[in-house]
Symmetry: C2
Subunit: 429 residues, 2 copies
Amino acid sequence: MKIRFINARILSLEKDTSLSEGELWVEGNRITYVGPKLETKEVFDRVVDAQGNVLMPGFKNAHTHSPMTFLRSYVDDLPLHEWLHQAVFPLEALLQPGDEYALAKVAFAEYLTSGITADFDMYYNPMEVVKASIDTGFRTFCLGTVTRYKESVQEMVASFHKINGLHELVSYRLGFHAEYTSTPEILSELSKAANTLKTPIFTHTSETEAEVQGCIDRHGMTPVVYFESLGLFNYGGGGFHCVHLTEKDMEIYQRRGLYAVTCPSSNTKLASGIAPIQEFIDKGIHLAIGTDGPASGNCLDFFREMFLVTGLGKLRSKNASAVDALEVLKMATVGGAKAMGLTDADVLAKGKLADIIMIDLHQPNMQPLNHIVKNIVYSGSKTNVKMTMINGKILYENGEFFLDQSIDDIYLAAQTITDRIKKQAKANS
Amino acid sequence: MKIRFINARILSLEKDTSLSEGELWVEGNRITYVGPKLETKEVFDRVVDAQGNVLMPGFKNAHTHSPMTFLRSYVDDLPLHEWLHQAVFPLEALLQPGDEYALAKVAFAEYLTSGITADFDMYYNPMEVVKASIDTGFRTFCLGTVTRYKESVQEMVASFHKINGLHELVSYRLGFHAEYTSTPEILSELSKAANTLKTPIFTHTSETEAEVQGCIDRHGMTPVVYFESLGLFNYGGGGFHCVHLTEKDMEIYQRRGLYAVTCPSSNTKLASGIAPIQEFIDKGIHLAIGTDGPASGNCLDFFREMFLVTGLGKLRSKNASAVDALEVLKMATVGGAKAMGLTDADVLAKGKLADIIMIDLHQPNMQPLNHIVKNIVYSGSKTNVKMTMINGKILYENGEFFLDQSIDDIYLAAQTITDRIKKQAKANS
């Protein structure tokens, strides 16, 4: 398939956040041209008139748990640790084979509506998410979720070898759920595996004050210091949330080039706190953004996340110029791509993977046109996502999905599973 | 026009936030039936199959400055007082007759995309907003904006008599911009007018710490105590923002039944602070929600505002159960209607004005269905607004506008004005 987009404003993010007018060509799963308007005799399968709308790299959702759609607005309004132990873990125990596949597909559909073209997806049975990803056409980096209850390091290493190289849309990275759901033995074993495979490690880190205090009580160290002491970061990696990092933690992030993935919707709804984003920026710490799972912040909406990253940063710093909107746009795209290791889909340039979105400026929230790029961060909404293309294929356009299943069938499958789980939970209670 | 909505989930908000299944009829500008499915031989001009989607009262935007669309993403990243004096006021001085009419129309279109069916609109030349409102079919409560620079109390009283009763879509209320932009003489005169007309007064109140401190320095009192001492609240009213209210201020709000209108997007982007919403709820203070103008929080999106009201409330209280989502939904609808005095369009019931929206549940962010009403607050987006009806007329449906002008003409008019102002500002600088 050869597609030509003409009359576009192009936010390539190759050098900076400036826009240029021109056109973009896609052939197969790659970008073959980005630049000014061309006279050409080449034949295309489709020519799309962008009508002055913005073409930009898709957003990279650097932390999520896609199959958790069944818990969306099922249990709300609890702090993290109660919510996990009293609600989430017992309900997750009722999942059956095949459930995670169907539940992840609802999340993938929502990512498309929000211009998200890849995710860093942490859940228990990676093969279900992998299959859902391949069938949908979505790009997923699965992440191991070792805990003392589920999944062993051995199983994770097996997944690592099985999934990497399986299909161009999926990859696998090593990870563990959190310090408080693991043991020193598990983390030692994991460290050995990471050092053998020479691969980065990601985990939930310093999401709440209670988590940090618990780790200090158990190990005499903050989570970040503890993880480093175990050699877990010898080949890089990073942490999800990073709300309560100390100066020493930040020094480790800075020195090792680790990625802090901020999840502001989740941290807001669970009252976990506001991450020190301006301090991360000042220290040159790598940043990316995640929605967290659909049971935490409920929606999977990168526009909400981007506004919160800049807005909460301003509130925390008591400074309206803190956490520059253009920096946030880079975190949401290039930053996320780097965190996952997806450097082949970070910017719009010849040879890069065609993971592209079109932002509709013909919507009242973008009018009149002033600073278009800042306005995507300050005012953007899912209604502005006119098209989402992954790996050269348009999966969402003008509100319609182009997937392997009808969207209604995807909803129905997820609802059936959710209803069964609710019924079982009621019977168990 | 007689319209019948069938197969709906109805969130009437008449008693509580429960949903019922059934149908709703509209004739002219009123609701004529809400209840279970009926067998009927009545003839309708249109029958809409809601397909299980939610019908609910439109959101009431209880604080905004609609004509400020020209400043959207034009000047960002400044704290309130610099932003007002260095950017907003000098640029507003370049507005010409007719500009506010055209600029307000962009905001009205955006309100429709967000399910907002009425606004409380504070700007300088009310007749322009009034005309824009009538021509668009939007419902507006204009609010006087007396300052020491523009608009006198006399002019405001003239507008009060001229606009109230002019057209069923528009009303007028007395107001002033803020303590720091008025004088004791203006406020005394205004108090006399309000007491003569026996009418409430609204104003920007305690938006920033600096504003409160300035008022204390000038008058030895917080803004709220000062306003009460002048008799401005003898017939009710309230304040916009209310971020930094003292215990004594809250006691006045409680005792006098005043409305605190919270504007969290604006307070976030301008780093003004987080309003004490849970404390307001605990004290039984009346609450409503506003977007503020499009130059403050940039977008006019009630879903963002609702999430922020509950989310920031949880962060401030360090409690994930604070500021209940269902309370927020009531603030956004019934609360706003009461604040404006629009008690004829607060809930869905026979005889009420037909200001109705349809929330699309057939979107990934609403699937699977669990707690539907909470999910509107936690996960809703403009993409869920399937229809917006005001005064019995559908003005927005399935992404299309049905207005007196094409949406492209509305954008063009606003862009032309904005470009002219930018050119003038450049020439002046």
